[in-house]
Structure formats: C-alpha cells, structure tokens
Symmetry: D2
C-alpha cells in the first residue's frame, strides 16, 4: 500500500469513528479545514459558504451541544469559531494562471442510524466503528472526504503545472438532500466550467468506473407532527385523541401509495416517535418521512398523495397536524463531453479494470442542485460512480467498503483535472 493510500485510509477511519450527522459535521469540517490550510489552500468554512435562507432540515437547537461534542472529540476551537453555527468547507487552489474553473464536490455527513456492534463487522472489530450514537458512515461519505483530501494533496504538489482554479467543496448534509442548495445559492458554483461529483459503491465492484450517472430520484423530505389529547387508557379511552393511531395509520397507508406507472417511485417513514406513558392515550406523534420519484412529476405525485394521507389520518383520529419541509432533491443528467473526459482519465489508472459510460443511480443525491446550476451557467457536469466492493448495502448497519478504491478514485480525478487544467489547453 502506498503512502497516499495509507494516509487516506487513516483519515477515513478517523472520520468513520467520529461519524457526524448532517449539519453537525463540526469535527469533520475542522479536520478537513486544517488539512487544506496546511496544504496551502484558501479555506472558507461554515457561514462563509452557506446561504442560511436555503438551508433545509437543520436542527438548530442541537447545534451548541454538537459543537461541544465535536470539541471533546478533537475539533479545533479556532475552526469551530470560524464556522459559526454551520458546517462545510471550501478549499480553493488558484494556479494564478488564467484557465478554467474546476469544482469537485465531496459530501461529508453520516447517516442517522446506529452502527452494528458485532465482531463480523470490520469497523467494530478493528476499533473504528462510530462512537456517536445515531450517526454511522453507512453510505461511504467518509471515503469521499478522504478522497477529497487525497486529491488535495496531489493537486497541491502539482500546482505549478496547473492553470486555472480548482474548488474542492466539502458539503454538509447530503443525506436528506439538505446541504447542496445552500452552497449553490451562495453563488460558489456560478463560475464553474467543469463540475464533478462522485459516489463509491452502489453495487459497482472494485475496479469499475462509471463515467456518468442518470436515474437520480427526485425527492422531498418532510416531518409530520400529530397532536391529539391524552386521557386515561382504562377509565376514559374515548376522551383521548390518539396521535399514535393517526401516525400508525398514516404510515401504513403512505407505504401503500400506488406506484406510478411512468417510473420508479418511493416513500419511506424512517422515524416514528409517539406517546408518553403506557397507560395514557398518546397525545403526540412525530414522523420523519420522504418521497421519491424518477421525475419531478412522479415525486410531486408521491408527495401530493402523502400529504392527502397525512391530512386524512389526522382527520380520522381528530388530531391536529403539521407538515414541515426538510429537504428537496432534483434530477440532473451528466454531459457527454465530461463522460468522454472521465473515460480517458480512467484509462490511465491501472487499478481501474472496467469502465462504463452510463449508470443508473436509483437513489437521490442533492449534488443535482450543483450540476443543474453549473449547466445553467454554461458549464459541464458529470457524476462518477466509483466501483468499490461493499460488505452490506448502503444504509445497512453492516455497511463497509473496499478502501483500495480510494486510490482508484483519486487517480481518476487527478488525471481528469490534469487534462482540464493543463496549461495551454
């Protein structure tokens, strides 16, 4: 294993161990910022790169406690202060020479779930499973972040032979499609000529590089609160207004929404918390939910149906309710020109044993906000699927990936940037 691979693996495992959910990536941002600064990048963090009005699905009340936790786990106070109450890092490497602007995006947040505590799970067995309850890198963003820093090192070394400018965006809160838009709205993508995002795993084996992705599912993330009335479950059950039954019934019927005949559709109630005491008719319930669709129309169909079901379930149990929007993901397409360039870049990487032009994502990714903005402004964009054998499906508590893919990914990206920013091109 070469040194860069070793270095990235160590970073990945450190981040994995200190997994942080969306908008709480204070330690992760601190680690990234510190490395980038040492490598000579101009570094912007938190409120400097986030448009607060465009932020979605952030639990502001938990931020002070999360900042404290981050510091306890090694975040540097200086960076935390510079961040304000927002996470995320932008590293800028300007060659000083005229040339195109290339932006790469790496997402840094963990999934809100618990990690397996089981000897069969390598991160647990080898001591780098998540210390933070309710946060696990089960989607590989720890690997993405490590690749971003690995690439930063290579670029810093090659700076002299480069024209134009490179932006490395370390984006918070990709899970839930919450963070990308807030960076887009700040305008940082507006002068980008070439944009690349990537994701490891997703069923593609180690060695495979898929140069462009389609099939991003549009998605809408929302919370629902039901509020009823408590009563004694033995003496006066009829006096209650049962918020749990409203929520349970909504859950079942949400999952029974008729699929759309024109393309894939999804719905999930990911979290339900309801009730207070065993012998009390539950007066309150809280749900985190999402819909998805292969097109914006299909997602709109799903969300419309979902809204009707929530409203009718509340009416059925005579409880109040409100729905609050928490995130929104859109669709995007990769540009053929960029796909060609990625394929060329990949051909120069030995570990890349197989390439494909196109792959279908089948999930949602808020990178689409960035791709769309770049394309609207006249730039080109693609989204690379980087093969990496996985131990279990994404968002499964046993998820783990083949760390050797980190080098492969960095190799492809470095080649691509060289092609794009070689002076005289």
């Amino acid at each position: 294993m070469d040194k860069l691979q070793e270095w990235m693996t160590a970073i990945r495992r450190d981040l994995h161990r200190h997994a942080e959910a969306g908008w709480f990536e204070f330690r992760t941002s601190s680690v990234v910022a510190e490395h980038l600064e040492k490598l000579g990048y101009e570094v912007l963090v938190g409120t400097q790169i986030i448009d607060k009005d465009a932020v979605m699905g952030r639990d502001g009340k938990a931020v002070p406690e999360q900042k404290q936790r981050a510091v306890r786990q090694g975040a540097q106070k200086g960076w935390i202060e510079r961040m304000g109450d927002y996470t995320g890092v932008l590293g800028i490497l300007d060659s000083g020479k005229p040339g195109p602007v290339v932006t790469l995006r790496f997402d840094i947040d963990a999934v809100e779930m618990n990690e397996a505590e089981d000897e069969n799970h390598r991160p647990f067995r080898e001591g780098f499973s998540s210390l933070n309850a309710g946060a696990m890198h089960s989607c590989g963003h720890d690997g993405h972040t490590a690749m971003g820093l690995g690439l930063a090192r290579i670029l810093a070394k090659n700076r002299a032979g480069m024209s134009g400018r490179v932006n490395l965006v370390f984006q918070p809160a990709e899970e839930g499609a919450r963070g990308a838009k807030a960076i887009v709205e700040k305008g940082f993508l507006d002068d980008t000529d070439y944009f690349v995002g990537l994701h490891l795993g997703l069923g593609n084996p180690t060695g495979m590089v898929v140069a462009g992705a389609s099939g991003f599912l549009c998605t809408t993330k929302f919370d629902v609160r039901f509020r009823g009335r408590s009563s004694h479950a033995g003496v006066a059950p009829h006096e209650g207004r049962n918020a749990l039954l409203a929520a349970a019934n909504a859950t079942l019927n949400l999952h029974a929404i008729a699929p759309h005949g024109k393309g894939a559709s999804r719905v999930n109630v990911g979290v339900l918390e309801a009730g207070e005491g065993r012998n009390v008719i539950p007066p309150a319930a809280f749900m985190k939910a999402e819909t998805r669709g292969e097109t914006e129309g299909i997602d709109a169909y799903m969300f419309d149906r979902a809204s009707i079901i929530v409203s009718a379930s509340a009416a059925m149990y005579e409880v109040d309710f409100d729905v609050s929007m928490q995130g929104k993901g859109i669709a995007a397409e990769s540009d053929g020109e960029m796909i060609d360039l990625v394929l060329q870049a990949a051909s120069g990487v030995e570990a890349c044993t197989e390439t494909r032009r196109h792959g279908k994502l089948g999930g949602s990714e808020d990178v689409t906000w960035m791709m769309k903005r770049v394309q609207e402004k006249g730039g080109k964009a693609t989204y690379i699927l980087l093969g990496s054998d996985i131990a279990a499906g994404h968002h499964n508590e046993y998820f783990d990936f083949d760390e050797s893919s980190l080098s492969t990914g960095v190799g492809v990206l470095a080649n691509l940037i060289q092609k794009l920013l070689a002076p005289g091109l």
Copy 2:
C-alpha cells in the same frame, strides 16, 4: 384554611413540581421518610420493603442518573443510601398496646407524560407544574402522598389513645401495576387485620365519599421489541426488514381486537419509538402496551389476542420480536364490614356531604394485590373513592384536583382508625 390543610397543600405542590415516574421516586421517598422519622415513626425504605424478585417494569439502567437528579432536587443523601436502588417507604406507628394491625396504602409515583405548559393550567400558572420531562402527577398520587403524611401527623398526636399498630405504606410504581406486588411478597401485609387504599377524583365530586370499590380492571403490561434490517430507502427498499411497519400494523390491529361480550376490555399502545434515519428502512421498533379486562379471563383473552397479533405482525414483515412482561394487576372486592365502618367514619366528617356504599373503578389498581393478600390471611379490606373535582380527566395533561379534598380524606381515615384502634374495642 386550617394548618393541616395548608401543610398538606404545600407538600402536594412540592411533590407535584418534582414529579417522579415509577421506581424513580427517590426524592419523594426521601421527603416522606424524613417527615415520618421526625414524627416518631419507625421508617423502612427501598430494599428494606421491596422483594426484588417480584419487581416489575423497572428500568434499572436509569436508576443512577435518577438518583443524582433526585439529590440535585433536594433528596437527602442519607435516605438515598438507605434506599439502595429501590424506592418506597413504610412508616410504622406501634401503640405498644395489644390490638389490631391497620395498614393504609398511599401510592407516590407520577404518570410518564408531559404536563401542559399553558396559563390555563393552574399548576403551570402558579408555578408548581412538573420540572421533570416525562413525569407528571396527572393521577393525583401527589395528593395521596400528602394525605398519607397528613394522616401520619394526626396519628402521631393521638398515639397515646391508640391500641394496636398502624402501617403507612407509601408505595412506588402504581402506574403500570408494578410496585404493590413487590411489597406484598416481602410479607408486610401478612399480619394486617384491616386494610385501606384510596383514590381521589375519578369522576366523584368534592364532598362525596364512596366507601367501597369494585370493577377493578385486571391488566397486563408488556413491552415489545421488533428487530428488522436497515437498508437504503431509495436504492434497495426491498432489502430492508421494516420494523416500523410491523409495529404500526401491530398497533392498529391491537386496537381492533374484538371487545369481549362478557365485560369491559381495553388495550393501549402507549408508546411507540421506531427507526433511525429518514432515508433508512427502520430496523428497530419499541412499543409499550397494556391490556385490561373486567375479569382475569377477559384480560387473558385480550393478552392472548395481543400476543398473536404481535407475533403475526412480526411474521408479516419478517422481523424478529420479543415480548417482555412489565406489570400485572388483578381484581379484588371490598369487604362489606369495612364499607360499613368507612360510612360511619365519613358521617363524622363535615366536609363529606354525600356517601355511597359502592362505586365502580373502571380502571386498574395494583392495590388489589394487597387487598387480596390481606383477605387471604383473614383480614378485611376496602378501597375508598374520595370525591375531588378535577380540571381534566386523569392522565390528561391538564389534570388538576380540588386540594380541599385532602382534608376530607384525612378526616375519614383518621375517624376510621380511631374506630378500629380505640383501646378496648
């Protein structure tokens, strides 16, 4: 307002403000024990009166934190230490003269729910609403405890004119039918000749005293855990095993159990917590539930049906599950002889403006374990319903009661004991 009423009101409000859920009544027990000791009672606490093997529905892991909280809120460390990890107090007043043993039971725990934070709610408006999230005296046990201490004062003063012995049992964890049996099994009820329990409110207006109760609902309290498998809700929903859907479906169908033709039956899922992240198929769910029935047979029918429904819901969603028993309440009947005595005692209390021989409880009460044991050993028992106007139903977040009823209750009990323990009887 006379001094005793004032004193009891102050105690009641202090306890209301520091509401403690079942098995966590460390501060309450400390307050009670301290008062009893000052009044000259022999005082036993916690492990001295609790048979640990008979304890139900206790969250042992939370005890250390709860003890710390209690101390922060004014519990005396000495009493906490004497309690061990268990709550509850027994105060014994022995006249030194031969005579019968009279036992009175006061339950001391709060309901697991949040209190209304609303100016229309007197405890909030007047500053004595619960400081402890998830615990509210919405069943009036704060009043019961205050009456127990008020009675203790009167008895201590009248000790000289008394024969026999009085036991004042301040029982933990009545909610959920968890605590009484643990005291019964320790044997403290075995030599009791006369036993009295009581409850305020329950639809009876201030001034009313109902001398005996029937219609206790038998009850079974149980927790259910479902364990499935997480997966990515967009990419691979079919790979998940959805524990939330299993729980939601179980909840709905539990509430749809056919009522029993022979008498009242109840079921409640009071709490449901499920899932981890919005975009993750929920791998786990946890439910607190209970069944009730007018007879043991009806409760058994309800619990059997509930077990089948839980098991079938788990099978339906291919998830694992387990059911753990958390409490059990039985039925009991009041003795006619005791009812007569209570009616006589009530007739001597001016504030008691109306009496009835019999009332139907319609709820569950684990005092039945004590009544049954006393009756099995040849003693007599009754359960008094003490009228008290209430602001909202029991277990409602706006519950409050008419504190003037405390004096009425203490008056009836003091008269009753005088009748039972007058020397020469």
Copy 3:
C-alpha cells in the same frame, strides 16, 4: 312429548328450513296468517300493519323475486297478495268483554348468513337446515314464531274464559333493528296495557326464565358506498382511485374505535364487497356496518366516530362516498310490576326450574321501540329471557336450540295472559 310441543316443533322446523331474511318473510307470514285465521283470529298482514315511511333497511328491488320464491316454497298466493310488498302479521283475539289489552311480540326473520352443511349440525343431519342461501335461523326466531302460534292455539281454546283483547304481533326484520318501528308508527301499540316480548337462548339454560331484561344495546345500522375510479393495475395504477383500499382501511380503523369508558360499545363491518377484476384498480366498494352502545350517548359516540372514519378513509383515497341509514335500535327497561307477574306465571310451569328477576341482554333488540311506546302511553312492558340450551352461539352457523323450551315459554305466556285477562280482575 305432548301434542302442542310436537305441533310447534314441526312448525319451527318447517320455518327453519325455509328461513327468510328481514322484509322477505313472505312464506313465513303466509304460514302464520293461515294458522291464525283457522284459529279464528282477526288477521292483518303486510301493508295493513306497516307504516312504510318508518321502514328501515329494506331492499325493495329484491321483493318481486322473493315473493316468487316464497310462492315456489309454498306460500299462499292469496296471503301474498293481501300483504302487498310488505311482510308481518297481526293476529287479534277479542274476547268481546271489556278488559285490558295485552300485546305479545314474536319476531319472525332469519339472519343473513349461510347455515353449516355438516353432519355435526342437527338441522342439517335431520334435513331441516335452510334451503335459502344467505338466510339462516341462527337466532331462534323460528322458535319464537312457533311459540307465538302455540300460544295462539291455547288462547283460542280458552277464549270464553277471557276478558279484554290479545294482540299477537309477528314482526318482520328484527335483525338489523328495522321492523318494529314501522309497526309502532302505525299505532298498533298505542292502546296496549301490558306488553311482552321474549327471546330464547342467549346463554340461559333450559328451564331458566328471566322475567325482565335490561342492557339492551342501542344500535345504528348503516351502509357505506365508496366510488373511485378504475385503471389498469399494471400500466397506470396511479391513475386509479382505489375504493377497496378506502374500504379496507375504514374497516380496520372502525374496529379500532376506542371503547367508551362509561359502558359497552360495539362496531361491526358485517359485509364488504369491492372491486371488479383482478387487474383493475377497484372503482367501487360497498359495506354493511353497525355500531352499538349501552346508552344512546355511547351509540352516538360510536356512530360519530364511525362517520368520521368513513369520511376520512374516502378522503385518503380520494374517492366519493355516501352513508345510508338502515336501522336504529334504542334502549328500554322492563317494569317491576310486569316482572312480578311473569315470576308468578313461571312458578306455575313445571318445566321452569329456575327463575331470575333480571338479566342483561348484551345485544340489541328493536322490541325496545314497542316497549317504549307502550310505556309512554301508560302501559307496562317486559322482555323475558327464556332459557334454552344452544348448540353454538347466536349467529353462528352451527346454532341450534333445545326445542323443549318452546313448551316452557308458551306455558309461561299462557299463565301470564290468564292472570292479566281473567274476567273480573
């Protein structure tokens, strides 16, 4: 077995074999009318005794076919014609002497269900199980009718020694609480001084006579139609409006209505028919349902909740719906004076081995409309529970009863009338 018993048994079995559901009792009415006329009664039938505006839950469209069927099965055309399109018989025996008016009511309809075809079921084994699909005498009204005719025979014989008048009401459509009110509204109960209804079985063993009943459940019967939109279940499921899902969801949630803390409550969806083809999103659904409650308030609570649930389920699936009322039963109490008389009458019947003053019905009975009208007009009423061992519960496909109880019942009624109408009383 004496001759009257033999005669009633034969009638009962003939009626059992030709079971007719409510408002379709054309053959039964013909049989009853024919016997009464032969015995010298004044006989009124169908439209002569039914107030059409007060009729509930009658399927008028099926009447012509049912009349044809009845004739095929032996109904006399002359009686059918006199009935018009309505069933039911009133037999009047006037002594010609002044005296009180006594009215007895016998219900004649079968339950809408199929009878067991099983050698273990006596009616099947012995060849008198129902020939009519969807109609079975599983509630014992065949026995009631046979008793009414048996009593008619005795009274006709004893006519000379009688003063006053006897009305024998053979009421259609008791099941579903549909028929009694239509007779009441025609005014036939208005001059009644003493009223008696009865029911056999209901858990009371052969030999038992319970002289008065309470605990009639109030009830509301209603049909629901959901109308959605069909679409291709494979190509365009999202274009459908699924009436079956609306109905299934309503059904589940109807059964989950919280029981009322103040007394027994019931709900049943007895019939659901939905959909057209396997691969078509179901555009229509039809439900027959009912609620019950120990008081009118409780039944109103149940029906209000049911209405909300039906409406919300329709909204949830974006389908239209309508609710149509099909029947209504109320509560009533037996008069103490009548209970005393029944107990005296029973004491003179050898086969009556045990009596009780009061019993709880636990079901609904539209006889309550008659009892209430009689009581409002100053008369006295009671409802007798006549013991009869049963082979399986009422409305079970294996229901059968001990025919020897027919003589017991007739004996009690005959004694009672003798007491009431003995000249000179």
Copy 4:
C-alpha cells in the same frame, strides 16, 4: 371509410356489446369461427387447441350458464358443441406451397368490470356498450379480434400469391395471463418461424407504430380464501374469527410491500368479497389478487412477500386460508430482425405517420409464453404496439379507442405477411 374498415368496425362493436370475460368467450369464438370457415380457413376450436392441464384461472362451474347465455346472444350451437367447454379459435390458411410458418395472435376476452353508463361514453351513447354485467372490452381486445378477422379476409383474397402457412390464433383469457400457455402446451407454436402479437392504444397515438416491445411485466395471479367463524356481533364478538378483518389487513399490507430497487413491481387486490350479515362477525372472505415484476425475480419477490402477508394476516385473526394460483405471465424480448421487417411493413402504410423501433409495455401480456416458445424453437418473434387514441386509460370504465387504427394495424400486418410469405423468398 372503406369497406373493410366498415366491416371491422361493425364486428368490433358487436363484440364490444357482447363482451365476454376470459374462458367464457363462447359467442365471440362462434362469431370468429363462423367468419373464418366462410373465408375458407381450416378452423379448430376450444378443446381442439387447448391443453386442459395448462389452463389457469377458469371458473368451470360457471361454464354451462355462460354457454346458455352465449347461445341466447346469438352463438351458433354447432360451434358451441365443437368447442366442448373451452373457448378460443385457430384459423389455418395453408398456401399448399412450401414456405415458412407465420403465426399471429389476437386476444379475444373482455375485462371483468362494469362499463360506464353515461352519455359521455360513446359506446353507451351509440348503443354498443356491454350487455353483460361484469364484462367490458376496456382493453381493446374487441379491436384485436376485429383486426384478426380483417386480416383473415385480406389473406384469403391473396392466398394464391402466398407460399407457406399462416396461423391466426384467437386466444381466450389473456386478462389474468391465463390462456396463452394452454395453447402453447398443445404444441401449436412449435413449428412457427415468425410470430407476431400486437396491442392497440397503451398511450401511443393514432398513426404511431412501435415495431417491438420490451418491459413486459412478469405476473402471478392468485385467489385467496379466508375462513373464520361467525358469531353475534353484539353479544359475543370475542367468539368470532373475523375473516373480513384478516382480508382487509392483508389488502392494506399487500399494497405496502416495499418496491424492488432493481425494477418496477406491482401488486393489486382487485376483488374482495366478505361477510354475510351486518350483525354477524364475518366468517369468510375471498380475494382476487396479482403481483407483477419487471423480471421473474422481482415478481417472485413480490409473490413471496404477498404469500407471507396473507399467511400472517390469517394467523393474526386466527382464521384458515388457502391460496390458489390463477395465472402466470412471463417476460420476453422482441427480435431485432422482426422489428426491422415490421418497420418496413409500416413504411408502406399511409395511415402510419410515425414509427419507433422500441416501446416499453409496462404491463403484463401472456403472449410472452408464445414468443418464448417460438424463440426456443428457433423462430423469431415481435410484439407490435399499434397507436390508437383512447378516451380513457385501459381498464377504465370510460375506455374507448379510435377505430380508424384497425385499418392501420391490418395494413401493417398484411404487408408484413406478404414480405414473409412472398413465394421465392
């Protein structure tokens, strides 16, 4: 409008008016056979072309009544007798000269649903809407059959200039994927060199011809019967075993099966019939259901989940159940060579204004059994999507299509056969 168009339109409307559900197409088969015989075809019907062991989803008990109905509606007794109890027609036109075998398949059955009775619906307004309750040509098979006969006429006229042989298969029971396999298993497809099936409408506008289809959904059709126990809904609800609740709960949860991440999946409960009387706990329920999947694996996933849900719902309500298979559809792909030929054939038809190589069906079609058999035996197959504007979606009660497309379809098919069977090819 030319004469052939007029003739086909008349046939289509006659068939539409006498719509017959799968396995009951006795009149339709008689009409087809009669025409073919007159045109000089060798005609085989019913049992001559159906392998009874491979028949799925046929209600044999209803056949005698359906045959009578067909005769009443004009079917010729001679043909009905030749059919035996099975429907379907094979017309063979043998040129007598050596050459390839071309088989074309037209499905003839209606959908099990009711047709709109509304002046806005042309078939109703113009008097050719279905006379048969529960059967409607809402999928266009009446058009397919008319095209088959139209083509038969053209071929009969051109017979002299033809080599080889043409088989025209008029297949029963396509809806529910029930009939094709029974013809395949009889061996009639085994010597086919070129096979063509087609479907009109499906979202393709009049004038469009799509030369090959993919995306056939695999499908499994099944019935479920639940059997519980009746009881009195008021007196003894707890004694029942509620088959309707089992079915309602199964229905809801079937529709909530998680979609498959790898491709489209479907489930439908198309029919539910349950219960007997309003006040009886429903002892029985019957469901017609189906699953679909983009691959056999996905359909297997759906059916496995469905089986588990049905079984668990039965267990939950303690009722018995059985699942019986009623139909099975598989996937197939069109051959490129055939697609090329269809495109050429279409280019010679003026009314064909637009062509596409490929279309996605998105539904199921049991023609796949035929395509697969032909391909396995070395032949080539395709499935044509024939554009036709529709008034409402397939299987909607307002479905109707643009009859001018019949000529377009026949034109393409005639050209194709000419290409395939021109002597000397």
